[in-house]
Amino acid sequence: MISNEPVVTPELAAEHGLKPDEYERIVKLIGRVPTFTELGIFSAMWNEHCSYKSSRIHLRTLPFKTPLVIQGPGENAGVVDIGDGLAVVFKMESHNHPSFIEPYQGAATGVGGILRDVFTMGARPIACLNALSFGDPKNPRTRALVAGVVAGIGGYGNSFGVPTVGGEVRFHRRYDGNILVNAMAVGLAEKDQIFYSAASGVGMPIVYLGSKTGRDGIHGATMASAEFGADAEEKRPTVQVGDPFSEKLLLEACLEIMAKGCVIAIQDMGAAGLTCSAVEMGAKGDLGVTLDLDKVPCRESGMSAYEMMLSESQERMLMVLKPEKEQEAEEIFRKWGLDFAIVGETTPTKRFLVRHGGAVMADLPIKELGDQAPLYERPYVEHAKLPIIDAVSIKPPMRIADALEKLIGSPDLCSKRWVWEQYDHVILGNTVQRPGGDAAVVRINEGPKALALTSDVTPRYCEADPYEGGKQAVAEACRNLSAVGATPIACTDNLNFGNPERPEIMGQLVGCIRGIAEATRALGCPVVSGNVSLYNETNGRAIPPTPTIGAVGVTDFRNTMTLAFKAEGEAILLLGKTRGWLGQSLYLREICGREEGAPPPVDLRAEENLGALVRYLIGSVDRSYVTAVHDVSDGGLLVALAEMAMASDIGAVLVEPQPEIPAHAFWFGEDQGRYVITVRPSLVDEVVRVIENAHVGLHRLGTTGGRVLAVAGERPLPVHELKRRFEGWLPAYMAGHE
């Protein structure tokens, strides 16, 4: 073979992140010492990020199909039938490690990557969401990370031209060294016009499309598969640079050639770039692939085969084209000013052959590269159950009114307007419900069908009890969809954890997956795509387990419900059962300074019944029983009521209907499976009958009206004052005043 590459040794393999036994497995597999380029290819294919070697065994327990699922996990994105000949295509993916090293570009390319996953399948992106976890606000790096990540997400999505309609932002010191940036993209396609990555046919041209290849992002996926040490800053060169303008052109060009019927298979170049996309196309199609790197459009001269195979330059695609359509496809790409080059062909050999400068740089068995990646059944320990905290044992350190003021002005509960105002959330003209509600609602074309979108997880619950926490993430996502009147149809999961080689971290992963599997089955909301991000750990300190669930529901945009109070004098009702659960609540953390106890359990059967009841009450265009709906989650009941008041500038008079529960536990407990609804006075009796027949738990909390939130026995709180605190914290923090 070739002479000018470094000699491969076990030490060099170790530097590539391959364990000694993994290197041995490679040598055995190919019967010789790999070339330098081959070593790079193996390290790219066998790292955690691309191979899911620690999580694969457990992920297999997740998917199940409903009749609506067209494509589950394993492709670029999940595909679900939404009727009328249309399908929704979506996925969530992390860009955690790069965003910590270089927040703007890391977050921007995270958005770019997930958008590409969606339009690779033939779907036009119609919405994005982002779930962000940052470190302690007092950590000197946090402010710059928030500013950079938010600007990066906006910078990419705004320019690309997709509305960013929802997501979440949280802060905790355990994310100090490892922030999380989870980006979700949702697209719309014709149901019978979905494109897949499996190549078919021998001798078919493999075409390289999009931007040129540069030296950026080399080993990005390998970097993302390791913990951070003190040298995180030095890894900046592994972060890619995004170009949303090229991506927008790539989108238009891809959709155009797909519509013209030119495409046999398509795969975007994401993690591990050319290597991963070429191997996947061949392996999935049971074909070999030969690449001629001399044909690859390069941004700089003198790039080696190794560099080209590992570059993670953005905005690139690989396609297998129908030979007779080659010219037509090329003309379309030229029109959009994009590179188009035939760089290889499919072969019957099942070998992955890479040529450069006339020499063979790699010759590997293509199936084994993917399928025979190491698979670990890592040891794990189950998490010990934490004690249930009795609310009576928690002495309230302040009055209810004071605690509410403090909570709604706290980093996790305050308004995230400062963030989502930097995202264009109205472009495309279909955003029926904007950020700030329970779920965003995006109309499909001219409607009346619409999609409801949300992302949820409560990491402190997951850490206290991974199984209940996994269940809760799914239950809350489905609750948010039901609250706007949508029926959940499917979800995507983005599993963020620490180092899986530690049994307690592996235990978190296994527990959360078990909870997610059970909840998605019970609630009829299958996982159709997802991503695993492990090694979110710095100097041995892991993030709290954060399995983000991005869920999609279907609704009628004419009848979607919002959380704002609508009028004075309406009855406020609480659906679901309240026990006053303070363990792991934000009240306990923010007001009492304690992060303790078992998290609230999730009764999946009750969740399902309640969700159906709420959707029934929201009803149809012609008949609705309710005027506002809001789910009760972080911060508990009084925080939910305050949010409804602040969204409307209408106050409320409230009483505690269950005096047997201590007041602070009633108003701030985080019991699951609850919604607040408002009902016109004339309909109250009828609504009460309907709810009582459903046996879900019902309490009357009071009446809307006035300009203050008045809890019986407490100082009345002017709504505008609550709003000032709610809206105040984040802008003040970002301006350096907090």
């Binding site: 600007a151 705004n158 320019s159 303008f245 927008k248 930097q422 264009d424 472009i427 003209g429 029926v432």
Partner: protein, 233 residues
């Protein structure tokens, strides 16, 4: 009303604009590619929509202003044709010399997407005849560089000749720095050229034309244009 919507690489609100035009005028607009050199015959209204033409990698609008189609647009404007330039379109129109001044970065240096209030200053133009003078409308903005700036003489002329059609205001029509999100001089949100046939504005009336999107205050602009051409016919 026959309208033509220009499409430059990186423009991304052309669909929003086409939908609003279709909804209100009842006619599908022609989409005109940047590399074309002529407008469709019989065009009444040219629209330069929003987006990030050429990625805004140079000065916003600077490259699009030099695209082949822009010669035809300049000719069209010189012969009195109506041109509506929104957001990136406004930036392109300024760079193309169709309008004076320049759009700088927002004063707080961040991209902002939110509903803003605009005071309509005049109702006796083809663009604002659907509104009353002094009326306040609510429309979204979505831009990072919408801070209108021009030299003192230009501003004095714009004001003196009544060429400011829209100003950022409070909900009750007061001009107040707290309601001027991007810091534009004199709270300028939209201006016309000397002849009154080219309007450039930062906000997006095309995103507020349907009740389902929460507000229809943007309709007046398009409805007024349709009336204008009806009367002219």
């Amino acid at each position: 009303m026959k309208s033509a919507v220009l499409v430059f690489p990186g423009i991304n609100r052309e669909r929003d604009m086409a939908r609003a035009l279709h909804l209100i005028s009842g006619r599908e607009p022609a989409m005109v590619w940047h590399a074309d050199t002529a407008l469709p015959a019989g065009t009444d209204l040219v629209v330069i929509p929003g987006g990030f033409s050429y990625g805004d990698y140079l000065r916003c609008g600077a490259i699009a202003a030099r695209a082949p189609i822009m010669d035809a647009v300049r000719g069209f404007a010189q012969s009195g044709g109506l041109v509506l330039a929104v957001c990136n379109g406004f930036q392109i129109a300024c760079e193309a010399g169709l309008l004076p001044g320049v759009l700088m970065r927002n004063s707080q240096l961040r991209f902002i997407c939110r509903d803003v209030y605009l005071r309509v200053e005049r109702s006796d133009t083809p663009f604002t005849r659907g509104y009353n003078a002094g009326q306040v409308i609510r429309v979204p903005v979505a831009h990072g560089e919408g801070n209108y700036i021009a030299d003192g003489q230009t501003i004095a002329r714009l004001e003196g000749e009544g060429r400011v059609l829209f100003r950022y205001s409070s909900p009750d029509g007061m001009i107040d720095p707290n309601w001027n999100h991007n810091g534009a001089m004199n709270a300028i949100a939209g201006i016309i050229n000397e002849r009154g046939n080219v309007l450039g504005m930062m906000p997006h009336p095309e995103n507020h034309v349907e009740p389902s999107m929460g507000c229809t205050d943007g309709r007046g602009l398009f409805a007024g244009l349709v009336d204008h051409f009806k009367l002219a016919a």
